[in-house]
Structure formats: C-alpha cells, structure tokens
C-alpha cells in the first residue's frame, strides 16, 4: 500500500475527497495471479530468479530471442507487427509450435506480458517484479487453454510451465 504524494495538497480530513488516503495497488504479479485464479485450466508457477530485474525483463521482452530458448514447445517466434500504445506495446507474433505456426496478439508492458492466441485457444502470461531492491526478480509464468471444459489439460500445462521456469532459472544465472 502506498500513499501517493499530492503536491501542494496536504492530506485532509474526511469531506476533502480522500486526498492523502492510503491507496492499494496491484503489481504485475498480482494481475497475473488474478488471471491464474479465474481463467479455466490455468497452470502457473512463481519463484525468484537470481538475476537483476532490469536485465531479466529486458531479456524476456525480446520475445523472438527469449521464448524459443526457455519454452521447449516453441521452436521459433517472429514479430510480424507492432504498435505503441500509451502504456503498452502491442505486437502480433507467430509462434511455431510442433510445426504449426500459431498467431498471437501480445500486450507487453514493463513487467507484464499477455500473449493470447488469435484463435483464443491458448494464453500465456509472464509477469515480473523486482525483488531484493532489484537485485533479483520475482517471476510468474502461466499458460492456459482459456475455454470452458479444459480442466483436463491443466496437468500437461503445469509440467510445461515448470519446465519453462527451470530453463529460465538456468538462463537467468548468466544474465
């Protein structure tokens, strides 16, 4: 919980519109946890990578390079279009998995990446926040088949995200 500064406006008593009152926040990992708790079949893993946050997220954000290295189900990923929004980068990417090219819409922010298959059959979420003053990185990785009746695939997805996280941990050690 943080108390946002209001320049020139000291905190006021009730009746002053709540200026200076404590405001809660939801960091990128909180957002990812909300999706993990509400999207059908979501499998996820969360842990701390032994690498600085800035270096880790810069590496992860380079999706063409990073995803094929840590996700063994993805052989190749290509960015086919990109556009800047006020608070995010929007990408269209094509990930080749088991020989099949799958287009994804991507929302990429500082510490948060949501990749949704255009056909809406697959979802990937990655989120990160600084740990230990930014010297390490708390990382959250989630995959899901966001369709009703897909709970049975969760175990398979869980193995996949845990394998991905293990790969990330090894890679992070060299960042």
């Amino acid at each position: 919980v943080t108390v946002p500064p209001t320049p020139g406006m000291p905190p006021g008593p009730p009746g002053h519109g709540g200026r200076g009152w404590p405001v809660a926040s939801l960091d990128p990992i909180g957002r990812a946890r909300v999706l993990a708790a509400t999207v059908p079949s979501a499998a996820w893993t969360e842990g701390v990578l032994d690498a600085p946050y800035d270096a880790t997220w810069a590496w992860v954000s380079d999706l063409e390079r990073s995803v094929p290295l840590f996700d063994t189900d993805v052989r190749r990923l290509r960015v086919t279009s990109r556009s800047d929004e006020a608070d995010a980068l929007r990408l269209r990417v094509v990930a080749t998995s088991f020989g099949i090219p799958v287009p994804f819409d991507v929302r990429l922010e500082d510490g948060f990446c949501l990749m949704r298959a255009v056909a809406r059959i697959f979802l990937v979420v990655m989120a990160a926040v600084p740990e230990d003053g930014g010297q390490r990185t708390r990382f959250f990785h989630m995959e899901a088949v966001p369709l009703p009746g897909t709970a049975s695939v969760r175990r398979r997805l869980q193995r996949a995200v845990e394998a991905d996280f293990a790969n990330l941990s090894r890679i992070a050690a060299d960042l």
Binding site: W21, A24, L26, G30, V39
Partner: protein, 164 residues
C-alpha cells in the same frame, strides 16, 4: 473500448478483456481497499478482482458494474482488515489520541488505523465515494442508523486529531 464492451467480453471468458477490466477498475478499487484494509490493501485488491472475474457472468447489466464492484471491494477489504489485529472493535469508542506533532497529526493513516474496518468502510463510501447515508447502508447491509453512528465516531476521531 468502453467498459460495457469489456464486461461483455470478460463474460465470454476473454482473458485480454478480463485483464483490461482489472486495469480499468484498479484506481477505484485501490482507493477503497487502501483506505479500509490499510497494509492489507494489496491483498484485498487481489481478492476483489478474483471475486469480480469469477462472478462477472452473473452481472446482467454492465451499467451496474461500478456499484457491484464497490460491494465486493468493501466486503473483501473489511474481511482482509478483520484478519489483522484491529486496535478498537466496531462499536467501541477509541480513546483520545495522545498529543502528537503537526506532521503526525496530518497522518490520515494513523487516524484510519485507530478505527475498526467497518468504520473505515463507512468513511470511504461517504467521503471518498460520495454516497448518501442511505446508499452506504445499502452497500454494507446495515441500518441507516448504524451508518450514522459509525460515521459520527469516525469523524470524531479525525476531528480530535485535526483539532489539536
């Protein structure tokens, strides 16, 4: 994309819309959860959004989103705050505060922390959200008289602090 469209898409289970709805509602939910749950505000906010997205299909009229989310946020914030040690239980008048320096006297958080979560909820809904006492009673599911007495106690605590 309007909030109404986001609600419809979230009801269809679109994860991107679910996340967009969370981002759209975060400033409002953050104010409610922060003021009521204090240091547990972040947890309350996360639980609020889990409850919102799990139940969003039950929201028949997207125009009612704001009030519906408000009820959930207040409930989750009071629940989160009640899980911690509360200095003074609801209905018990907090003792006079010790004299403090000017900086501390302006510390809203200090005063809020001296109140029970239920009293903080009344303050938030009345003074941040601008609801009438009757509307506050409806959100909290308590009689209007209870709202009046809680509001009186909460404001008295602030008045003592600011009156020094």
């Amino acid at each position: 994309v309007g909030v109404e469209q986001l609600v419809r898409a979230a009801q269809r289970g679109d994860p991107a819309a679910m996340d967009a709805l969370v981002r759209a509602l975060a400033p409002y939910v953050g104010r409610i959860c922060g003021a009521i749950a204090l240091e547990r505000g972040d947890d309350a906010m996360q639980e609020t959004f889990i409850a919102v997205l799990r139940n969003v299909r039950a929201l028949r009229e997207p125009a009612a989103l704001h009030g519906w989310v408000r009820r959930i946020a207040v409930r989750e914030a009071v629940r989160a705050a009640s899980g911690t040690a509360t200095p003074f239980p609801a209905g018990v008048e907090p003792p006079p505060l010790d004299p403090v320096d000017v900086a501390s006297a302006l510390d809203v958080r200090t005063v809020l922390a001296s109140l029970a979560p239920e009293h903080r909820a009344v303050l938030v809904l009345r003074d941040i959200d601008g609801l009438s006492e009757r509307e506050v009673a409806g959100v909290l599911g308590v009689p209007e008289g209870t709202v009046k007495s809680r509001l009186h106690r909460a404001r008295a605590a602030f008045a003592r602090r600011w009156g020094q």
